[in-house]
Symmetry: D3
Subunit: 315 residues, 6 copies
């Protein structure tokens, strides 16, 4: 068995606290660790609703419901991988660039040590330092599930926030754009070019929500796998790609989105890709009275963990 495994919920109740992700041990050192869940309680980058700083703990609280076997992917990830809850990055609230440095400084050692990080946001602005932390691995294929492009140049003449991180990451050479894709774009935008220039200007592929719903989960996953190929990849999952009915607790909700089932099915179907990191972002507990958003985020992270386990097993 791996060094670290979750507590057994058939022996101690799930609500026995403090809550860690999936009831895993809370561990700071990285010895004999395969996957580390890290909270990134950063929300200074938002343009509308705020409160993602409480996202990591809300996802932890919801994740205690996770059990050891994933029947959809036929894998018991905690038997395959030694997983830990690595705690939170001590970001600096109100100071984006210092927070970015702290996030990068916290995540890079994991990537360097071959530990796969699963980061729980926090707002989407923190995906930029997540990607900076993978810089040593060269540009990565980014799979961004999102209703927004996050590729605007600036908001309020500022270049670092949750609407611009993708453009910044590309500018910084962190994204292997030829193998990257945004999935789930929808909602009103600033102009017709907001989507089209992803391709024309940034060489980034995308699928709209309309396309995702028309194609179905399997075809979408196939398109993503085709796009990514065998490149090392990073999944960023903005919970707002899902319809607000399934994910009310988020900052910039766009009605008319994917169901939770759609989202889980597409993520599950990404097996085979060489992932070096994941994140799930934009959960805001203050707008999530029944914790359904946090519960979905926890399940998405569990599917990511399962994908990593399958990859380790060569399946």
């Amino acid at each position: 068995m791996p060094r670290y495994t979750p507590e057994d919920s058939l022996q101690s109740p799930r609500f026995t606290g403090p809550s860690t992700f999936a009831r895993l041990p809370w561990v700071k050192d990285l010895d004999k660790v395969d996957v580390a869940i890290i909270g990134v309680p950063f929300d200074t980058g938002v343009t509308y609703r705020v409160g993602g700083r409480f996202g990591p703990n809300a996802v932890r609280a919801a994740s205690v419901m996770l059990r050891p076997y994933n029947p959809n992917l036929d894998v018991s990830p905690f038997e395959v991988l030694s997983c830990i809850d690595h705690g939170d990055v001590a970001i600096v609230p109100g100071y984006t660039e210092r927070s970015y440095r702290r996030i990068e400084a916290a995540v890079a050692p994991l990537v360097d040590a071959g530990v796969i990080p699963i980061l729980i946001g926090g707002d989407h602005a923190c995906t930029l330092p997540h990607l900076r932390a993978t810089r040593a691995r060269g540009p990565v294929a980014v799979i961004d599930f999102d209703s927004h492009t996050d590729a605007w140049d600036s908001y309020f003449d500022e270049r670092y926030n949750h609407g611009t991180w993708m453009r910044r990451a590309i500018e910084e050479g962190l994204v292997d754009t030829a193998h990257s894709i945004e999935v789930g774009l929808r909602g009103s935008v600033y102009g017709p070019e907001d989507w089209t220039r992803l391709r024309s200007e940034l060489s980034l592929e995308y699928l709209t929500t309309e396309q995702v719903l028309a194609m179905g989960s399997d075809a979408v996953a196939a398109a993503i796998r085709a796009r990514v190929g065998d490149r090392p990849a990073f999944v960023s999952f903005d919970i707002d790609v899902v319809d607000p009915a399934f994910a009310p607790g988020t900052g910039t909700p766009e009605p008319g989105g994917l169901t939770a089932h759609d989202a889980l099915a597409v993520v599950r179907a990404l097996r085979g890709i060489d992932f070096l990191g994941f994140d799930v972002v934009e959960v805001i507990p203050a707008y999530d009275p029944a914790a359904q958003t946090a519960t979905l985020a926890a399940n998405l992270a569990y599917e990511m963990l399962s994908l990593a386990a399958l990859r380790r097993l060569g399946r």
Copy 2:
């Protein structure tokens, strides 16, 4: 550019207040105005949950997320049409008939001036004075998205409330029944004739939710367009046609309804119709903790605005 346009959310944050619909100017006079959003904070007509008086402001608050370009319809409505937030009608709480007169008095001048009103309710009882305000244009084709017929004769022996407005409107000669249709009927009713007499007695066509879900959005829209033809039309959108998962904040929820995506898709597909007015009703913020109902209503109003813009462009 049109006389009136929204504030630029890339320069001032969306939450900068007071909130008007889509951050449009709050304007009372109608000079150089094409579309006016009007709040109708009337909720005296309800038979169960109440609180739609706070609906207009909740929809305004949610609508600040709207951006200028509609990618689904390929139009920037605020570049085509001069739009304003015209404020609220000063209805008389607790007094239906006086409120009706105030609503009609507020809306009729807009219709007369060729301004397209988009009314934000308030409960569905206020659609009767909305239609009275179009009287000068002759009977109009009414497209009513609703889980209920609203064609009962009375409740508690009273003739004016949110369950009877359609019958009253037909009796008053306001509805071109041969070109009108109710879309989305479902839920338990008082008897088998509640639906069938729409056709037999009122000459009104209808589609049930079961039919809508079986046909799909495009076929439903085609059926509506065929029914309406080239008559001047009015869309009334009762948010309860959508499933409570997507629209919990409403007064008489009926489980088993349309998704938000279904709703948006059908409305979008109504391009080509000659609309002289719209309303979105039955949003109750007290039951909408994450504002998802108000957000959906704001998006539906934005689609309506976009349809008006396309019509203006002859597309």
Copy 3:
């Protein structure tokens, strides 16, 4: 007309209280009664969120929206069957086995008298005494809508709770396993055998949520009817088989589930089966701010009532 019928909501408003199920009379004696709705406010059997003790009253409050005619099944159940709200079982909070005895003692006389009980939970642990109350009728075909098998052997080394009732019921000879089926399994489990041993060890059939969504409601209902045949049957509906978007107010939510429409459609399609009882369980109002879960549960109970009415009519 039957002896007992609901109040007329066209004469007295729906919110006129105290609230009983569907505004039926609150009656203790069973003379001239066909169907009895019974609350079972038991929640000692849960392993995570708790509060189902307030479920029966929340479902009652939501059920006042039900009207007398079911258009999907073309039946007015209250004209066919004399229905009552029989009140709640006085369970013993914190004491499972004494509560079980009280539940069985309350329900068995109904079954013996040929009254069909529709039990409103409470947590799923109470389905065991529900089934004990039918013991005189021999093992029954159980149709369990649920995202969980509830067939684990124990939790915390205890044998009676909401995750073990099905196994206990089979061990006690209450279930006609050859004609029983679990519908909607999904979510992470403890091991690969959690599902497979239902068949191999317990002779119980099952359909996963993935299968339900792939097959569609009609095919699922056909499979259930084929399984049950003409045996006397009991439906247990755990609201968590529905996605948390549609049923947030529950104790162990599993994202990626059925829609409310799916759930209602499958239940409706069970016409023809010889039902001797029903339950709807696991509604927790404290996590249901807009009462959408309770509203769905009330509608599911109404469909069950309608199935009973159709059976009485021989349709």
Copy 4:
């Protein structure tokens, strides 16, 4: 023992439903009844927040916590008086004057039969028909706990709503103004005369919240008793006299009010007065997430019940 008494919460749990006031029997006939609790789910009379129609059932739900002995007044009211939950008046939502007639028609027979009604609102507009129902007893001394005078002439040029009932009642000769008093006035008003004309024009005495807090509960009660003397009296308790911290679930909250303890202490100290009726109004559950307002209202009604019991005992 009296004919009707509450269920024993040491035998059946308090949450066993349906909920009636204090778990009393729900009884329509008045034989051998001393006190009847009646719900008045009327909220058409409000000028701001709405939703008091759900007040009676919320107070019932909270009242199940009440136990049989009142230690502050040293009385077991249910041993002294036969008390029932008489259900709700079937008011006509949206129609004030018809609702008034129904309320008066429901309450007058109780007063005539010597049954003391304790009415649970609903908004304060319903106190007018409460008083009309006592007309046969001549003008009564009214003790109105309220932060507002409710003696304005009209709102929106309408004469019947929750801000005008006191003036109407006086005009109709229902109030023995020389022995009546308003207690707890505070908050901004329309002009300096809003309070002073109570005395100068209406001959009504009043104490402001500032006076109440300065005097203390005993002195306030003494002043009230002195004012009322031995006249038959009616207490109307608008929950907004209490600070919003203690009663958030109300329609026109005014910060800076009485504590719950102050309120209970003053009501308790009214022993000796000859009460022929009581009401507690303006509870709106939609703004009462922890039910603290409803719980306070239930306790106030219990103190009123206890006062009636003491009077019966001649104490």
Copy 5:
């Protein structure tokens, strides 16, 4: 009458929108304006809960309950002063120093024009630019109602946030410390010197919550007036000085605080002081389900307005 006055709530209902402070006109130019209410939706400066960006609109929504006459101070402020809602400052979310410049740039012209600003936060960090905007008037006496000193040197090694503004303001020479005072300190702190160094190091006077409660409102106000003397003064009211029961919707709640009545009484008792500005900060609507915090803040602002009116009248 003044140029600008509120809408008449006896004619149009209070909930008629869009909501401005006290239903005042929304006006940008400053001609014939005495008092301007300005929203400052800045919340980047917080160290724990966040969401004050929605504070100004929540206070506006609650403020529609305010009526024209203040009986405690015997003044009708809107008859004395021409008051407007000046809208919000377009702060830059996530960027403190740019936001500070925008706030100062928005407020300074008012101060220069002799208009008294009443600023509605937003978090307490924005009081620094509020004071910078008064720089032309020389150092001002600051009366800071607060449970925290906000005089720490830094948080996370950053100098600008809601816990350091007072120290910064003193360092920048904006505060006439000899005439300034902090009122209401309580709660756990970092060390014994946190409070004492206010006097020893910053020459700032203070009263703890324990002292305030022991002294009573009048004595506290007298102490403040004695401290301030005839200097031009600025009141900053951090809503967290009030107990969380009265103000749950705030970011760093400290139990054991003032009541709403205490707070209102002390503010009212400050008549006679020469105020050149006010703010009310730290209202977070996401934690204020019944809007009681926003309602209290609106009432505090109304008292401030009334103090300004009395000063104008020389009373």
Copy 6:
């Protein structure tokens, strides 16, 4: 410095997770530990609202606001005592007696090791095993802050629940009744003897809420200290002794109680007593939307910690 101290919130933000009590280390072994905070997520013992199983984590989440110095008691407890968060007892939900054994087994080793436990409930039924764990120290003086006596003999004929623990503890010889006291009794009870038999039958002293409010905090604390003398003592603090305005998130709220300030003041004034343990119970987060109850509970625990520190210092 002590071995274990909290994280520094001036360096890492308070919301950096996972949350432990006061950001202390989460430690299982007891070497060099003076005080251990232990969660007891047991809620099987309640008779009305349920959900205290989430109490410990809610109090942890709120407790991150605590800072190192207590100005009221002039002590920095974490400099004096080595404190840890010892995690939660793995109680057995639904099984009271097994849970009791687990609680006792978890707590007794601490008491034996001279570590002072501060237990965070959970419902009040768990105070019985808390006291059993002190058995080796002989009967202890119990100071029970509570609105209820919790000295009933049984509920539903069951002897172990949150309304009977005090009687059981006395019967088991765990309580030094001659030096014990209940503080804060109020609310309706079952009969006049419910309170009086505390003295006559159980030799237990008590103060009612009415007495507490009349005496004031200092006199109450003096009475408690006089009662306890120099015996080893245990404080049990049921949060429902505080008024629901200050502690809405509890199971059996009784209006008319202490303020948060009263509660904190009395606890603080208990310096000098020889405490061997503490608990704070009956926090239910599902009814605590702004976390004010959990925040108060965290502050009460901090005062208890400070009392232990003062005792260690001989002050």
